[in-house]
């Protein structure tokens, strides 16, 4: 279980960082967006398994292959969400920043990041759910450990009890992440949206 979690969070972190950076670039530069748009569509619709198998063949049955396959699967989703976020930036706030002569760091921190935050959170939530699912499949496909591997072993013994036990543990972890991390963070970050008390 620990192995699976580590893999999931590592690929999640990488995909979010890369996706945010690329998404912001695509949102900013229309020519780059036109260049990458069809690749994004391909990326979004490429079957996860194909990517995993290709990476396993190229990089061998390694940790790196598994993580990069997960990242590649998740990346287009993050990029498109963040890109929409950047496109939705209000020119009104840019005017304000210009009138106040805000430095680019303060502009990023006070004006652009808060506008992007709901999109980052949306990407995080959909991304995390996707990653849980594919990490397990990839582990089942070729790995020396982790939940997916365990489940495949249990499957060979038709050990329903074991599989259900793993599922239950998994559900607990997912709920803990949602209510222990994502929700409280969202509440704090988006407090300004709340109805007046």
């Amino acid at each position: 279980m620990g192995k699976t979690l580590a893999r999931a969070f590592l690929s999640f972190g990488l995909a979010m960082l890369l996706g945010a950076a690329l998404g912001i670039m695509l949102g900013r530069k229309p020519w780059l967006d036109r260049l990458a748009a069809s690749w994004l569509v391909v990326g979004l619709n490429l079957p996860a398994l194909v990517v995993a198998i290709i990476f396993y063949i190229w990089l061998g049955l390694t940790e790196a292959a598994l993580v990069s396959a997960v990242v590649v699967n998740k990346l287009p989703l993050v990029i498109t969400t963040i890109r929409e976020g950047v496109r939705s930036f209000s020119p009104d706030y840019d005017e304000l920043a210009a009138a106040l002569r805000l430095s680019s760091i303060r502009r990023l921190r006070l004006i652009q990041f808060p506008q992007l935050l709901p999109f980052i959170l949306a990407a995080a939530r959909t991304g995390l759910s996707l990653i849980w699912k594919i990490v397990l499949v990839f582990e089942l496909l070729g790995s020396d450990g982790g939940m997916g591997y365990r489940v495949s072993v249990l499957f060979q013994f038709f050990d329903i009890t074991g599989i259900l036990a793993y599922s239950a543990a998994f559900i607990l972890v997912v709920l803990a992440v949602e209510y222990g991390l994502l929700r409280p963070f969202e509440r704090r970050a988006l407090a300004w949206r709340a109805e007046p008390a």
Partner: protein, 242 residues
Amino acid sequence: MARGAGIDLAIAEKRHPGMKEALFEAFLLTLAGGTVTAILGPSGIGKSSLLRLIAGIDRDFSGSLAIGGEPAAAAPPPGFVFQDARLLPWLDAADNVRLADPSMDRIGAAAHLASLGLAGHDADYPRQLSGGMQRRVALARALAAGSGVLLLDEPLVSLDNALVEELHALLARLFDESGTTALLVSHAAADAARLADRVIVLAGRPARIGADITLPVPRRERRADMLERYRREIDAALAGSA
């Protein structure tokens, strides 16, 4: 606050991309320090564009702009009050004010807000404030820039009468006490009659100064009948130059 700086604007040409005719051509405007000038004219004439040039929001024009005798790039940025309050909804009132002046701490920002009648509201988010209060916060933010120059883009539009009256009084007091140089874009002659020392009416394309009226009586001595007379004079100028 020190007496506000004067503004010298000389536009050789200002043209929006894709426009056939220039918005401004060989346009000169000089504002004396510490005076309040209202700019009126039909919509689309370039009032807001003019304000954005002086604010440094739009730098795409040929010509020169000096604030207090210095080139605008070197001068402290003028405070700008937008048509909508344009507060950042994710920052509370005090942080919105501090946006204009990072060296101001929260206590200073709260005191500054209190001086505009917003005591105790420094930790409120914009959506917790009424429309009138949001405008006050926006005004506080523009003043916090501390340059002594204030640019107002139709700050009183789409407000109900009571609120307009309240903000008129607030602005008049502010102009009298601080000696701010202010440029007020408006479409209402009543705003100009109440607040301005000088009224400029823009007309035509490229825009030129259609009328330049001085209102010599100090703001606080203007009685109702005088305001009415000023208002009619300005309205006549508007109609005459249209």
